[in-house]
């Protein structure tokens, strides 16, 4: 074994002991080849490496930032600099602010943080890859395709103009009849699918793929924050996708969800949108707090104060953020009791935020600051985010919010929160981690210019907005009258953007370009940091860790002299998987709490199917956009084919005997065919995703039910219950047969299992056909009243889930006949049974709701 010397840190922040070295195995280059993506164009299309996907996600976010964040805001500020100016037309102004909000909220910060996660997590956590490299690639492609589909509206001269919130009925078919809002709904729909896909990957990555010994309480805070963020994405974006579906049904298929004249409700959209929209703000600020929690201790040369408190605060913010959406709706006429509830909930979030603040300040107190650019941005974050937090508590008070709401005050508040609270930590993170992945240190002198220009710019640009807002200037106005006294404040804001923020960003871009060309060499650990990623060379190898590190501390690089000593069996284990004969991409899952190795499995390799499937998703949404309805079917077939091909079982690269031999020697089971542990988690998250979507539809049903005194409306009789009951019995019975079949498979009776699956297909299929026939017999439509709209949509969702189960069952049946599953290897079958259980429950609850809902009085 050779020990490659660590490059000496250039001008290190004093760090005392040497950074611990790692033992490179002889197989370093072979490992690197094994984990690399193919070369050339094909490699670009099939690549799944976390480095590749992570960097791509971040560049995508930055690309959209330059396009939508900067360009739009400069134009808007130039227009508003003077009263009654006419640099741009009202239509263009409305398009600009719609685009500015939409792009920053959906296409900038989200991909940047997901990119941070995919790129950094394997290094921070001491694993080799993310759990689902292909899902990560799929997430990237869909985010990119969605963003481009949204932006292509410019080419069709139908640019969305109803705000990033797209309130109904303004965004509905009557008041926005052209394609503009379809680009908004459907383009973002594609991107939302991608955001959720990457969230799956992050959740499982943090919970299951860590270095041996990294217990829950040793997970670096940034990883904790990404875990919370990913859960929030799952819980927030799923309702938004459902809401977008309802809006598109209104726009494209004539349903009446949001039309108050026909049983719909304009406020239903606001509720669904803000159940997404408020958590979305914290989806952005939670990982930002995670970055700050990593950087402040390193540059204070002190351990973070109150680690447990900070974890609790992150989790608390995650939960609380779902309980305060209605504070965006304080002026829609809610009752005082609801107002005070949401006011209290909104204010309560200041408590976990206070915990974070004092933990950071105490950390600074207990150490000695080193003034590097990354640290400067963290201090700037503390100042600006504090102001944004204080104004946030103010607008949580309904009597004051009735003045501030939808005024420039809120514009000032939210930019303090999002620029100070999110963009500054992103800059800090880039300055901090850039050397790790490029090997070059960003220039400190340019960094200080970058910081001070932005810090001054944010205050000059956004502070005056608070004042002019309370003077009476509303948001989203392209002009204002002279003589109101608003001109001077607007002029100052414009100067802040043009003279400070734009040059500040330009300095940053220049710094990156200049550093890539001739930057100072960084060395492995230029900051003397404590977390694992700094134990790899800069830039790190394709496969990350040749020998997985063994973690015995929360600050391994500060506390451990050697990252590869520990319990003898663990030492033997990490070298075992770092060496042949494991001639495949071996990943390790660990116990969620104790961090002990659970399983060695084969991580998926590069594949074209994620791109293919993403293209299918794009076809579905684009076909609806351009009203080429048959192409929706084509897209659906592409997605189904893509998912099947993607998951096509691959011959395990090891025999069962070899697997057992490894397990006997190392004490950790091997699943060379693919992970059981991770698939189980993915199944659970998949079921959670479907359940959240279903739950959103149920909430919509009952919201409309409560809004309408007469339900069903006049002219629709109560439905008969006999045939739906028979259909439900058939579908549920069919699922139970599959469950029975799984038991036979475990007893190695494959024939009975095949028979059971065939029985499932027949019986559940009959149930689905019967229910569809029942629907075809109804004489009410989905266009006449919101009752019909939600009736058919909710039933359609339930039937769609069951139809998905039929496809899954058919594929499992086919693979069983092909001999894929045995009494020992059949995890996929067990997971299908979980899905069946969920589908049965959804069928039961869904049809109980549509058939018994009208009978509730």
């Amino acid at each position: 074994m050779s020990l490659p010397p660590d490059p000496p840190p250039s001008e290190p922040v004093p760090s005392g002991k040497e950074t611990p070295t790692l033992h490179e195995p002889m197989t370093h280059e072979e490992l690197d080849r094994l984990w690399s993506d193919p070369k050339g164009l094909w490699g670009q299309l099939t690549g799944v490496q976390n480095d590749l996907i992570g960097v791509r996600l971040m560049l995508t976010g930055f690309f959209f930032l330059l396009l939508g964040g900067s360009f739009d805001s400069v134009l808007m500020r130039l227009q508003l600099a003077m009263p009654e100016s006419s640099i741009i037309s009202p239509q263009l102004y409305n398009e600009l602010f719609t685009n500015h909000g939409t792009v920053t909220m959906f296409l900038v910060i989200l991909p940047i943080f997901e990119g941070f996660a995919v790129l950094l997590l394997p290094f921070i956590l001491g694993s080799r890859e993310m759990p689902f490299p292909r899902l990560g690639a799929f997430g990237f492609w869909t985010l990119l395709f969605g963003g481009l589909l949204y932006y292509s509206s410019t080419l069709f001269a139908a640019v969305p103009d109803a705000g990033w919130f797209a309130y109904t009925p303004l965004s509905g078919p009557e008041f926005s009849p052209d394609l503009a809002l379809d680009f908004w709904v459907l383009g973002l729909g594609v991107a939302e699918v991608g955001a959720i896909a990457v969230a799956f990957e992050i959740i499982i990555g943090v919970l299951k793929m860590r270095a041996p010994g990294m217990t829950l309480t040793r997970i670096p805070l940034f990883a904790w924050s990404l875990l919370v963020m990913a859960f929030m994405i799952l819980f927030a974006f799923t309702p938004l996708i459902v809401g977008s579906l309802l809006l598109e049904l209104d726009r494209g298929f004539g349903t009446q969800f949001f039309d108050p004249q026909l049983g719909g409700s304009s406020l239903l959209w606001q509720h669904i949108f803000w159940i997404f929209g408020h958590p979305e703000v914290y989806i952005q600020s939670v990982p930002a707090a995670g970055i700050v929690s990593m950087i402040i201790p390193v540059f204070s040369r002190a351990r973070i104060v109150g680690y447990n408190w900070l974890v609790a605060a992150l989790v608390a913010i995650g939960f609380l953020s779902f309980g305060l959406w209605a504070h965006h709706m304080f002026t829609v006429g809610l009752s005082p009791i609801i107002l005070s509830f949401f006011a209290a909930a909104s204010m309560a979030i200041a408590i976990p935020t206070g915990v974070q603040f004092f933990a950071w300040i105490a950390t600074i107190w207990s150490g000695r600051p080193a003034w590097r650019t990354a640290f400067l941005f963290c201090v700037g974050f503390l100042v600006i985010f504090l102001i944004g937090g204080i104004t946030g508590v103010m607008v949580a008070a309904p009597p004051f919010d009735m003045q501030a709401h939808d005024s420039q005050f809120v514009v000032g508040h939210l930019h303090y929160v999002l620029i100070g609270g999110v963009a500054f930590p992103i800059f800090a993170g880039v300055y901090y981690w850039f050397p790790k992945f490029t090997g070059k240190l960003l220039d400190e002198r340019l960094g200080r210019w970058n910081f001070w220009l932005l810090f001054i710019g944010v205050n000059v640009a956004f502070f005056p907005m608070h004042i002019v807002g309370l003077m009476g200037m509303p948001r989203r106005v392209y002009t204002y009258d002279d003589g109101l006294g608003w001109g001077i404040y607007n002029l100052i804001s414009t100067i802040g953007v043009v003279a400070f923020i734009v040059p500040g960003i330009a300095v940053f871009v220049w710094n990156v370009v200049r550093t890539l060309r001739r930057g100072e060499e960084a060395g492995a650990n230029p900051w003397g940091a404590d977390t694992l990623e700094w134990g790899t060379p800069s830039p790190p190898a394709q496969h990350g860790w040749s020998v997985l590190p063994l973690v015995t501390s929360r600050h391994p690089l500060w506390d451990q002299d050697d990252l590869h000593s520990g319990e003898p069996w663990l030492v033997k284990f990490v070298h075992g998987i770092g060496n042949w004969p494991l001639r495949w991409r071996a990943g390790v899952t660990v116990g969620t709490a104790d961090g002990r190795p659970q399983e060695v499995f084969r991580v998926a390799d590069p594949s074209i199917w994620p791109l293919f499937t993403a293209a299918g998703v794009l076809i579905i949404f684009a076909a609806e956009l351009f009203k080429i309805r048959w192409a929706i079917g084509v897209g659906a077939l592409v997605v189904i084919a893509g998912v099947i091909a993607w998951n096509w079982p691959k011959k395990a690269p090891m025999t069962v005997e070899e697997e057992s031999a490894f397990e006997r020697e190392h004490g950790v089971p091997v699943n060379a065919g693919g992970s059981v542990v991770i698939a189980k988690w993915a199944t659970a998250l998949g079921i959670l995703f479907v359940s959240i979507a279903f739950g959103t539809l149920l909430l919509s049903y009952f919201y409309l039910r409560l809004e309408n005194p007469q339900w069903p409306p006049e002219g629709i009789a109560q439905h008969g219950l006999v045939r739906p009951a028979i259909a439900a019995a058939l579908v549920i019975g069919g699922g139970l047969i599959a469950r029975w079949g799984l038991g036979r498979l475990r007893d190695d009776r494959r024939g009975s299992f095949i028979g059971a699956l065939a029985g499932t297909l027949l019986m559940a299929g009959a149930g689905i056909v019967l229910q569809v026939a029942e629907h075809l017999g109804y004489d009410f439509t989905w266009t006449a009243h919101a009752y019909g709209s939600i009736f058919y949509t909710l039933s359609g969702f339930v039937i769609g889930v069951a139809a998905g189960m039929m496809i899954m069952t058919a594929m499992v049946l086919y693979w069983t006949i092909q001999g894929q599953y045995t009494a020992r290897r059949h995890a996929a079958v067990a997971h299908m049974i979980w899905f069946w259980t969920a589908a049965q429950l959804i069928w039961l609850v869904g049809f109980a709701t549509v058939y018994l809902g009208p009978r509730l009085t």
Binding site: G16, A344, A397
Partner: protein
């Protein structure tokens, strides 16, 4: 116009007063919190400490846990209880029920103008609302199309006009004054030019105004105005506009019965003078792009006549 002297900084009624009091209270408290936290931060950053050239090898002193508990939990809880208490007090001071002596005004939002009814007196006007000083006002609001929001910052907070149903806002003006208010919920192309002039005036003047508004439209005063009326009534104008006392009875656009008494035209888009009016009638899109009203095909003489007629609708 100086700092802190207009809009919600200059409350002219009890509701706005309550809101402004809450704002100043929270501003003082927020500033105190900001100064406290900043002082701790700056002190922590600048105090002299011996150089640490060790890897931080020990856990931070336990004493810092008290920072998190005291500063991060206890301090915010105490402050939030105070703020929430002040909020609830302010909410109880904001009337929810319609007071018995309130004047009821019905407000209907349109893209992009305001329809104003006085149900007791039984007349309709547009884009200008008059209020008697010293009497509670209940504005019952709804929308004919998309969501709008009414906001007169010196008199009280905002409330949305929904197509779903009626919202009621109670406020009161204690001082006479003219408030040029704007729609506060984005409502489409001309959201920025959807102004409502709110005129608070002494009860006597208000009574005179009401009496005037209840009258049918004034007869044309001269030949030119009479010619203008003729053109008006024989053109497409009547499909959308109402002039009480004439056959014009359209309801898709502002009531013009007492149009000349209003301060602004085009829902706040321009001052209501003859020059602007002539331009508006000739082609309103040059003043307010995108409105429903089409450009007219009148020659100069006809245009002057129509303007004379409209300026006579006092």
């Amino acid at each position: 116009m100086t700092l802190f002297s207009t809009g919600s900084f200059d409350p002219q009624g009890p509701v706005a007063e309550t809101m402004a009091d809450l704002w100043w209270f929270m501003l003082v408290l927020g500033t105190a919190v900001f100064i406290l936290v900043m002082a701790l931060l700056i002190w922590g950053l600048s105090r002299r400490r011996p150089p640490t050239d060790e890897r931080p090898s020990n856990e931070s002193p336990r004493s810092y846990d008290w920072w998190v508990l005291g500063g991060g939990v206890v301090l915010p809880v105490v402050i939030l209880i105070v703020v929430f208490g002040a909020t609830v007090l302010a909410m109880t001071d904001t009337p929810e029920e319609i007071p018995a002596n309130a004047l009821v005004i019905e407000l209907v939002g349109h893209q992009w103008w305001w329809e104003v009814h006085y149900p007791d007196a039984g007349f309709t006007t547009a884009n200008e609302m008059h209020l008697p000083v010293g009497r509670p006002i209940a504005i019952e609001m709804t929308s004919a199309d998309v969501i709008h929001s009414f906001w007169a910052p010196a008199l009280g907070g905002k409330l949305d006009l929904l197509p779903d149903g009626t919202n009621t806002l109670v406020l009161q003006a204690d001082e006479a004054g003219v408030h040029n208010t704007a729609c506060a919920e984005f409502c489409g192309l001309q959201h920025a030019e959807m102004g409502l002039t709110v005129v608070a005036e002494p009860p006597e003047e208000f009574a005179v105004w009401v009496a005037g508004q209840m009258e049918p439209a004034a007869q044309p005063a001269d030949e030119s105005a009479a010619r203008g009326e003729e053109i008006f009534l024989s053109s497409r104008c009547v499909e959308c506009h109402t002039v009480r006392g004439t056959p014009a009875a359209g309801d898709a656009a502002p009531d013009l019965t007492h149009f000349a008494s209003r301060r602004r035209l085009g829902a706040g888009a321009a001052p209501n003078n003859s020059a602007e009016l002539a331009q508006w009638v000739a082609d309103p899109h040059t003043i307010k792009e995108g409105v429903d009203m089409p450009a007219s095909q009148l020659n100069d003489e006809e245009l002057a006549a129509v303007v004379a007629y409209l300026k006579g609708l006092k």
